[in-house]
Symmetry: D2
Subunit: 287 residues, 4 copies
């Protein structure tokens, strides 16, 4: 699943019709590209076509930088939403955190051993607690103490900071503030949250307490894209762990921490390798 | 986990206090019983004590039939809910089904190879479709075509039938009718349902369709005791299976069938071996 | 994942080179086919290319029956191993069983509700025990009581029987005889076995006993293609279930039965939908 | 599952006989102890009895420090192996590491947030690489560069160091040296290893490579007590993760890292909470 360099990745969705794979693969082939990985999906109910293709550009007849212009006419004919990413470029990601350290700890450690193809130019928090951890990994840490009164203004400052750093994606690594619709709209399908329940079970606050009180035998964690509707965005990844009557609320929280870390890390990997297409309220995951 | 015969099983719950294990185990020991399996649990929040003990009665100094009378005073002192089951006696179970055959098929096959310590004197259905399957296993099949108008009267007939056959437990093996509160009250913590979702997600009807439309990456099944509140009873067992964007609604239904069969079968096993105590809205499972 | 009809499926593997996807998809497109599903894989170490494409033939410009001839020149140029299956045609499968009924029961039931796109013209056994189950589903049951002395001759008779019924694939549903190399060679990558362990752990006989004595915390089941080397063939599917110190050998066998049923059923589904390509000692599974 | 303090935990195994639970629980009760958790197991084949009891000593009539002497006669009568641990005392653990940081990172982080009831007075390594990580958590790091020639002498130095620090248990957190039988004998059932395969599959070196070449669909990790026979000690915990044909050897290593971390952490938790009894080549886990 590793991406060879130099290379390019196309993510595209459009109304389904005959010849899409043929014409897209031909576009690559006739320019000297060698397809390394191709995955496609047709939603036969919505009649939509989804594709991810990665190819080697080492013998490519046009400079990768001109790919967008070259592919544009074809995409226009298909009525497609699309994006071509060049393999060598890393995604620029900002982490938003509050007080819990487990997700931040996990992401920074994985990043430090090279698991993700991302850059993390900055970390944003509404509390100063996790600054030492950020600094240990040499990443600038920005504290914005949000209040109800200041929220609108602070979010504006945060958005400017993100823009200044050319941020592509925001990861909410147990960030305990609800983002405003204005903020969410600025990063459509580019804000990833980890919710500590098996959505759609236990939306909202204190999902572990809700799970404990309901007496479920399995708890879960869900990573999803953030939309205006709380905990309703397209789901990227979920996983679960078994519970028993012996488990206290503290045990749920402890076991859940492991889930949150793994599920969020998998979502980061999928997103940063351009393996996700949004299909309405759902995702198509090319893993 | 197999129960040796002859033997006895005590299931007991009461307010927690010092000496419970000591006095219960001493009661068994001084009558010549040898404890085969003991499992206990203290709910430290509710301050409740739960225990399951099984013991060999081959050298027992009193006839097992007199156990209830002998243990009564101790249980009264503890303020306990309790029941002693004699290992040799099988639980008498009625199956309620509608049109789907997978759960019935699974239970009858497992029963035929001796996986459950139960007798199945009869099967009840609101449709005639599954009669051939019942007859193949030699079990009487009773059709009660329920309508809104006849529901009350028919449930009364069903309850009488269950009483006539000395039924202990009712299994709803994809029975597509909601039982009335009156019916439910007649079998407290003795009606088991299989719901084809990961409760509390997707309560009510068409959970697979709900799951499909939400785009979850995991679906589940839940077996639970039936209470007056639909899909809200104490959960016995849950399990899950992964989904992807490739899975159609039919795929969810197909994969879910396997889950439903396994989860219901595990609940039947736990219940029939007297491994479950109800703790308010939850269960304690001594597996 | 369901196959629409009428349609065709190509399974192909060949040394990797540029343009394979483009030329194969173009072959389909220029004949009026609409690709429904395409999955490809490149083994970058062995430099081999694998593809599965299914397409609708409802507007196809050549009769599906002529597909082999039309595609032949391209496949020859690629140096490919390949096969085109027409969606409407069901795979003809023979089941081999001995005394355990759980796998046979499971396959016949799933087949009866339409889960598999196969025909089962006959069942072969070295014991008469399961004949009633076969007859319940209306499938001819052939008993060949194999002995060491008669093995060679009996296998010859079996092969003739399979040939007479135009059998494509043999499923060993807990068939307790080792097939001779001669037999195996007659159905290369077309004999599927279910081994009741997590291969390569516990090869050979009594894997549950071996697992019990080793004290593993997880047991497994493995479906694989049969090759001359016992339990060494390419693995199709595996799954596991947790064990504890409480589990007796009988519990392992009981829990293992559920695994065997599920894992074999999944292998049958994958194989019969032409989703498997063999890559040396491994499989490529396009699910 | 949390241990209240002050309290005590008894772990005991002996030949099975009638009255064991009664007499042990009575011993606690008559001294004013209140049992918080009791779990027992009878191996009916080996006819051995295993028990773990924890109780509150807040109203205990004898000082906890005198418990060993008070319980001794009873244990002697039973012919038991046993140990009483006082809840307030943390287990003293030494970590042995080489170059891989993931297990060390995980254990130190979990330890830092209070997940384990252990003290880690020192870390031993045959390489200096991980010293910065150890120092970040303020734990002394001792480098012993082992060679074939120096092994015996160095192990002697290590044993003295462990003795000086009153070490109870040694955790091999991806320590890439095989310990000598002499070393192993010094810590019977008190050295825990993490092996990066699903034992008994893929014993010895390079299990991920072995798994990759065999083409398994699931890989695993196993934590076990170390005995003289490499990778043959009693298994404490195992877990697995699914693989596909898309996964390269690097993917196996990456996914396996997550397994190793979780499985080793669970073993540390179970061991440090005195939840494990060894039964010949197996373990009894009271979780």
């Amino acid at each position: 699943m590793t991406i060879s360099e130099p290379g390019a990745i196309l993510l595209l969705s459009c109304p389904d019709r005959a010849g899409l794979v043929s014409r897209i693969s031909h576009f690559i082939y006739e320019r000297g590209g060698n397809i390394l990985d191709l995955d496609e999906h047709v939603d036969t109910i919505e009649k939509m076509f989804f594709i991810r293709v990665s190819w080697s550009t080492s013998h490519f007849s046009i400079p990768p930088i001109e790919l967008d212009e070259a592919f544009g006419p074809l995409a226009k004919e298909f009525g497609a939403s699309w994006k071509i990413r060049l393999g060598g470029r890393k995604m620029r990601v900002a982490l938003f955190v509050s007080r819990y350290d487990h997700c931040l700890q996990e992401l920074l450690w994985r990043h430090s051993i090279g698991e993700f193809r991302i850059d993390i130019p900055l970390i944003v928090s509404n509390h100063p607690d996790l600054e030492p951890l950020a600094l240990r990994y040499g990443i600038p840490f920005h504290v914005f103490p949000v209040t109800a009164a200041s929220k609108q203004e602070i979010e504006q400052q945060e958005l400017e900071l993100l823009k200044d750093h050319d941020i592509d994606t925001v990861l909410l690594a147990r960030y305990m503030q609800v983002l405003s619709p204005q903020f969410v709209e600025s990063y459509p399908s580019r804000i990833i949250n980890i919710h500590h329940s098996f959505l759609p079970a236990f939306v909202g606050s204190s999902p572990y307490r809700q799970a404990y009180e309901r007496g479920v035998k399995i708890i879960g964690a869900t990573s999803h894209y953030v939309t205006e509707d709380l905990d309703q965005g397209p789901i990227i990844e979920q996983d679960i762990v078994r519970m028993s009557h012996k488990d206290t609320l503290d045990d749920l929280i402890r076991k859940g921490r492991d889930l949150e870390r793994l599920v969020l890390a998998r979502a980061v990997r999928l997103h940063s390798e351009h393996r996700i297409l949004v299909n309405g309220k759902k995702t198509v995951i090319f893993d």
